[in-house]
């Protein structure tokens, strides 16, 4: 029961954090979904997997925060979609990072203060 509640709580935490993670990675360099997944592999607490990243990318693209372009792959095969951050996405990411920093500072202060 507690485990289910924690899972649900984690899911809520991840919703906002995953968007910030993706925008931050794309702010460094344009990347495909595969590339993003590979970069995120060590960060399993972010909770992004093959099944959750692509719908998130689609939403960010629809919101105008990132832009996707189809590119041919070296060595043939199906074209792959590469994403880059837009000016709007960069502004959003910057504001999200500031908010995240303030949030993290406050929560750390509250949670980690010894009683």
């Amino acid at each position: 029961m507690i485990s289910m509640k924690i899972d649900s709580w984690k899911s809520q935490l991840r919703k906002g954090a995953a968007e910030l993670a993706v925008l931050s990675l794309l702010d460094r360099e344009a990347c495909s979904g595969i590339g993003l997944l590979d970069q995120l592999t060590p960060y399993h607490h972010v909770g992004l997997s093959d099944g959750t990243l692509y719908p998130l990318l689609k939403r960010l693209e629809r919101d105008g925060r990132i832009k996707g372009e189809w590119e041919l792959r070296e060595g043939g095969g199906r074209p792959i979609k590469s994403y880059s951050i837009t000016d709007e996405g960069r502004s959003v990411a910057c504001a999200m990072r500031a908010a995240w920093h303030d949030f993290k500072t406050d929560i750390s202060d509250i949670v980690e203060t010894e009683t």
Binding site: D50, Y54, P55
Partner: protein, 191 residues
């Protein structure tokens, strides 16, 4: 079954499950997932990739619900709002409630608009009828043959009914969009 056949099968199922989305969106999603699976297959990780994506129906639902809601919220049109609520009503209580309330309000709006037009052609029997015994016993529309009620608006019926029709229409829209916006965050990925 070869890897290519498995990828083709998955993408066909995905395309079928994405029915209802605009064609361009559907093709874009399917092409991206196909490229993803092909890439993972090249790494020898097709089984893991398919397991991570889940069934084609599950994968499609992650896209479909969020996109349908987002499209409807952006469009803000009455037909697409009610249509989207109807599509999601079997799976989401918010959509079901929104659909019922918005439909009810829309039906009242349409009935009032019709009665306003009818008043122009049949002013003797169409109006706002109120019981002399109980002012709360009233209704808009055509009086029945045995009613004791009295019509109280007269020539004002048309503008009053028209304004009420517009009001109910706007309420219907507000309810529909409110429910869609409530669902917007919940339909986003990472549930």
């Amino acid at each position: 079954m070869t890897s290519d056949a498995r990828i083709d099968q998955y993408t066909r199922d995905l395309s079928r499950s994405l029915k209802g989305l605009p064609k361009g969106e559907r093709e874009d999603i399917v092409a991206e997932i196909a490229a993803h699976l092909e890439y993972r297959d090249g790494e020898g990780k097709l089984d893991i990739a398919l397991a991570d994506l889940g069934s084609a129906a599950h994968c499609a639902q992650s896209y479909r619900d969020a996109l349908l809601v987002e499209i409807a919220v952006m469009d803000q049109g009455p037909i697409i709002t009610l249509g989207t609520l109807a599509k999601l009503a079997t799976r989401r209580v918010t959509a079901l409630l929104g659909l019922l309330l918005a439909s009810f309000s829309t039906i009242i709006a349409i009935a009032l608009a019709f009665s306003a037009v009818a008043e122009l052609f049949d002013p003797q029997t169409v109006g706002l009828w109120v019981s002399p015994d109980n002012p709360l016993d009233f209704y808009f529309g055509k009086a029945g043959p045995n009613t004791n009620s009295e019509e109280i608006l007269g020539r004002w019926y048309v503008p009053v009914a028209s304004i009420c029709a517009v009001g109910f229409y706007l309420i219907s829209q507000k309810i529909g969009l409110f429910c869609l916006k409530l669902m917007l965050d919940r339909t986003r990925p990472l549930e």
